[in-house]
Assembly symmetry: C3
Homo-oligomer: 312 residues x 3
């Protein structure tokens, strides 16, 4: 096992060995979540700060609970109620939080690169909880973890990612993680949102959804953020549903045991039919459970704990 | 002692023995609150989620502190900041929270029946923290507990509930609990809000406040929610005060040692004169203290702890 | 060592010995913040309530983390989301919180005297986290602590406070603390905001910034709250910057090793040049770290712990 990172900023920086290390650690921590007493002492007396400049209740709660289960003290700092509103810079805010002897700073920010910036100016460990359209490493790791738990390996698996690829940090991080772990990645969705440039990364790009689905072992549906959709690029909700929604008709083209993933929250009837979202093929709730385990693993590893301690 | 409930959804479902069990457990937990170290290990390593779709700071804090004192990990999830705003269904939100290995989900919701619905689809234990005009079981239990602590028993006691009975979940739950425990229940208030139909439950209904007061051992005043009062049914604030407010004049008709209750927050000068609210007859602050104890007992019992463990 | 206070309401009430006691305790607690396991058991099983009627994320977080590190249970209660909005009085809100067996109530309020009022009606210990233009004792204590750590003593030091003195609780509390500890205090700023009346307290008042700076060992810059500045008294932001901002030019007049303080958040380019704020003279981040230590000391001492227990 190997882990040489002080931070978790993106997937690109991780070696395949490091990804394997965090997935193995996550498996240990998922077992903690199934115990009667879901508690590990690893981060006792450590201070974890959730700095959520871009709001996200789900991801924040997942990190908060991960830190609590590791016995850390947790502080939530959201931009709305804070001095960031009073014109303070991100740099000053982060340094002030670090001055509270913060050990780990978890940041979510609408600007790409914000976590990398903080990692250069802080002594604390930094974990990226999503930055702009750039990266969302814990989401990618929990997705890869969920696939690996089912199939045993990602090597040679056909994984299709469907939806708004161009602006999605989830897609970007997933592509990196999947390729590193040896999967074949197919991207599909509206032509304006799935440009051929992704072929240079090693992905297959197709704008025919049937082609994207038919040999897939896994279909990962991205959330259509229709409450703040880019109006120019997006074809319109009705058109999206008619062309790309995973419905019963299209599902017939897929392998019977294809794994269906979605980062949540699902728009039922938009990305996927409601019945399919609740079918045995869907692992959306397992993804949530695994997300907590992966975040425990990330907190554990970046703060310098040895992965080998977990195997005992 | 007996307790056979996986959830705490309403008072109707509880037997008199079960109510007694929870009151006895609450007595033990009130003693915990009076110790120098107010902490019990019963729920260590358990995850409690406060899912408050309808906001309520007081009730949320009471549950949060109850869970903390039992050493649980607690997550607060409020609707405003959440994916519920993004169009996610309650079912999906609750399942996502459960997927974080939540042991107990506490829900407050403006829709009657929401907790019952969740109890059918979740494996977690569900506690109702107030649903629409339907039920507020922990409020009823803390009220009954407060009465029992003072009088020793509810058998044969005259309890009057005063105010907006028709739309009040507090009234509804209190009526069930009081009748089960053997009290005589009188309801009073404006005729539009206290219909005679309640007589079928076994209550006495009178629209003359003096009659409702004069033989009462306990008067429970409901909060007039004038910030969002139903305009059609409510007689107007001035009229309410002149006809139903518990003032010094009316108080003379009551037994000198009548117990005055109010679920809070009090509108001084509306439901009750300010001086009476602070008089020795008033137990409004004891209700708050007891509420915490009752909620500790509820968390303790629904999660499968044995009540007999408390007596040792 | 001596400490005879059940509350921490203002600096005036503290003797010089008591200030020394809390500074010494803060030193012990700062060492806790530098340990791998930043945790002390002193307040285990105690309940601390943050009652923030006037919002302040930074101060609230500092107190919250201080309480967590002392192993207390912490409840945050902000006015926005609460029954205070429903017309409940501060007295009722505070009593309701106390009825949850709260041991310590930390209050921030826009009305001067609110903490003193609560200390008279509650049995809980009360800590003032800032009240109106009146007092902000933990800020003054952390400032004095930061100076003492650097200079060893305050006796005979020249400390200049610069800015809106008239309406600043930070200035007021600092003046009391500095004078009690033997420092020489100079006040400077716009004539409308720094009246000569402060000379009666024992301060030097000058409206010429160069004079205020030149012999100072410490310069404490107050925050200009331009987002809600009193329009009549304040000269305007541009004029303030040109006359009173601490820029490179003016800094040449100061002692080379002068200590620069600011309670944060800084308006870069308003109270101080950005480069100076980040220079080795600036201790703004140490103030944040020390604030946590001072608040741990305050929580520890008001709740009746013996300072002598810390020296072992």
């Amino acid at each position: 096992m190997s882990w040489n990172q002080r931070h978790l900023l993106d997937i690109q920086s991780l070696s395949r060995d490091e990804i394997t290390t965090i997935l193995d650690a996550a498996r240990s921590f998922r077992a903690v979540g199934e115990r009667p007493i879901k508690k590990a002492p690893s981060l006792r007396g450590k201070t974890v700060v959730n700095l959520f400049v871009e709001p996200s209740t789900r991801t924040r709660i997942s990190f908060e609970l991960a830190a609590q289960r590791l016995s850390a003290d947790v502080i939530n700092f959201s931009a709305e109620a804070s001095s960031l509103r009073k014109g303070e810079t991100l740099k000053d805010t982060a340094r002030n939080l670090e001055a509270l002897n913060a050990d780990i700073l978890i940041i979510r920010h609408q600007a790409s690169g914000a976590p990398h910036f903080l990692s250069r100016i802080l002594k604390s460990h930094v974990i990226n909880a999503g930055d702009g359209a750039h990266s969302h490493p814990t989401q990618a790791l929990l997705d890869v973890f969920t696939i690996r738990e089912k199939f045993g390996t990602l090597e040679g698996l056909n994984v299709t990612i469907l939806g708004d690829i161009l602006y999605s940090r989830v897609a970007r991080s997933n592509i990196w993680a999947l390729l590193k772990m040896g999967a074949n990645v197919t991207l599909s969705g509206p032509i304006t949102l799935v440009p051929r440039i992704f072929e240079k990364m090693g992905c297959r790009v197709t704008h025919r959804i049937e082609e994207a689905i038919e040999n897939a072992d896994v279909i990962n549906l991205l959330r259509i953020q229709h409450e703040r959709q880019r109006e120019v690029m997006f074809p319109g909700l009705g058109e999206y549903v008619s062309l790309f929604s995973l419905n019963a008709q299209r599902f017939k083209k897929a392998k019977p045991d294809v794994m269906i993933m979605h980062p949540g929250p699902i728009n039922r009837g938009v990305e996927i039919d409601s019945a399919l979202a609740d079918s045995p093929n869907s692992v959306v709730l397992e993804q949530v459970t695994n997300g907590l385990a992966v975040r425990m693993a990330a907190l554990f590893l970046v703060s310098g704990n040895s992965a080998s301690a977990l195997s005992s």
